[in-house]
């Protein structure tokens, strides 16, 4: 179980994680907010659809990809909560729509 040792509860915001309403200190990472709410599944694996969860917490494994306010492929360990944010487990697998990659020319 994850728990928080945060000293003074900073200003809190309210977000939803897979429809569950969660209060979180402003500026907390999306991943910590999910983990402390007991919602550990960030995304489904591309082929098997198995549950995946944050692995590195520092932006290098891309296991923590979630959908934030409807936008997929957001790294939960790098993004921070804002009031009213909607966070959802990402369910993009081989059979669903592939993400878009590109670079401006």
């Amino acid at each position: 179980m994850f728990s928080s040792l945060r000293s003074t509860p900073a200003k809190t915001v309210t977000v939803t994680v897979n429809s569950q309403s969660v209060a979180a200190p402003e500026g907390q990472t999306v991943w910590a907010t999910m983990a402390l709410a007991g919602q550990l599944t960030t995304r489904k694996a591309a082929l098997s659809g198995e549950d995946r969860s944050a692995f590195c917490a520092m932006g290098v494994c891309f296991e923590c990809l979630v959908q934030i306010d409807g936008t997929p492929n957001q790294q939960a360990c790098l993004r921070r909560v804002r009031d009213g944010m909607h966070i959802q487990t990402q369910d993009i697998t081989e059979t669903s729509k592939a993400p878009i990659q590109g670079i401006p020319e």
Binding site: L5, S7, S53, C56, M58
Partner: protein, 463 residues
Amino acid sequence: MTYDCVIVGAGPAGMSAAIELANAGARVLVLDRAPRAGGQIFRSAANSPLSDSGALGTDYTAGSKLIERFEASNAEHLSEADVWHVGEDGTVLYTQDGIPRTVQTREILLCPGAMERPMPIPGWTLPGVMTAGAAQVMLKSDAMVAERAIFAGSGPLLYLIVAQYLRLGVKVAALVDTTPRRNYLTSLPKVPGALRSWPMMFKGLGMMREIASSGIPVFKGASNLRVLGQDMATGLEFGCREQQRVMSNHVFLHHGVIPHSNISRSLGLSHIWNAAQHCWQVQTDAWGQSSVPHVSVAGDGAGIIGADAAQSAGRLTALNILKRLGRLTPAERDRKASEDHAVLAKMAPFRAFIDQLYGPSKCLCLPQQADTIVCRCEERRLQDLKEGFEQGARDPNALKSLTRCGMGPCQGRQCGPIVSSLLADWRQEPEAQVGYYRLRSPQRLLSLEELSRFQSRPRGGAE
């Protein structure tokens, strides 16, 4: 407007370089994706969410001094700025607050730091399995801890987080130490040299004593690790004299750090295989200058040296950039550099000792079971890669196009080092011969929606 130097990364290396450059009057911009400067070691040191950040150690709290000096300098700093393209032409693209932006610079200094060496053991993709560095990051940035966790692997950063947890009163299920017993012998000849950095030696020994006297179960010389569980981690099985099992929903893995090279790779800079540290690193001269003269790399991102040395390396690299910008003569550069060159030389034997003692064992670098996942993103297992190799894919890029290993969102950050070493093993040739994936920008997934918000940087002058 064009900057004299754009620095990627506000860790010890990037901050030290920025201070040096700004003090000499250069126009510097530092980009970091973190909300506050500090890098890995000093993450949130200046704004810790913990009431007792002293438990993280004096190294950590000392970081706020460097952060203050950096923030008081004339270097511009953009936090929460995620860099996803660096071009040889001096174009740097990043996203801040959901908006992609561009800046132009004469000199580029990459200080992206390190990442943890992937540890492909059975079950390493199960929810509940994370890296020891992740435990560090979660503790520092969000004061979040995992109760009754297992820590498994080897190396100073693994012991550091265990000691920090214990000091904070967080229960630890076990430390499963994979350091091979013979390493204590083979590293002995390096002890006298390492003692030149005796404060570091004593700090390390003190930490080990702290763990030993805490009474938590410590398994030394462990091997054959396997994470237990179907849908999530339930424990760890390993050999230590006999077969052992420790149950927990949290398993933190670690066996050393390696330079984070995705930007330097995408830039097409030359990289070399560092056999002593068992990792790839960008090729630089003694001034951090890469194979492209106006691109320099400093700190752990250029080869693992640790936080103190990273500060010296940052300053040295800055001095050379000042010379390149015409703000210092070669003689001035050399004179100002002598102290930091000496510091680096003094620290090298200690690093060599650590590298020998905690050098990664082959059976943790290479997956040992046919069905162990190598590519976490595309779910490619050892057997899939072996099959690809037998079909003739003998180098990383061929194996990638044949098997899709390395084509997922992490762009090979996790499987890349494993694939190089697997092919080296199968080909019976050194990694240097085998090579690494060819990488391209952008450094992460971008959506068209994000790109559509693209803006030239409004602040700091016209574009």
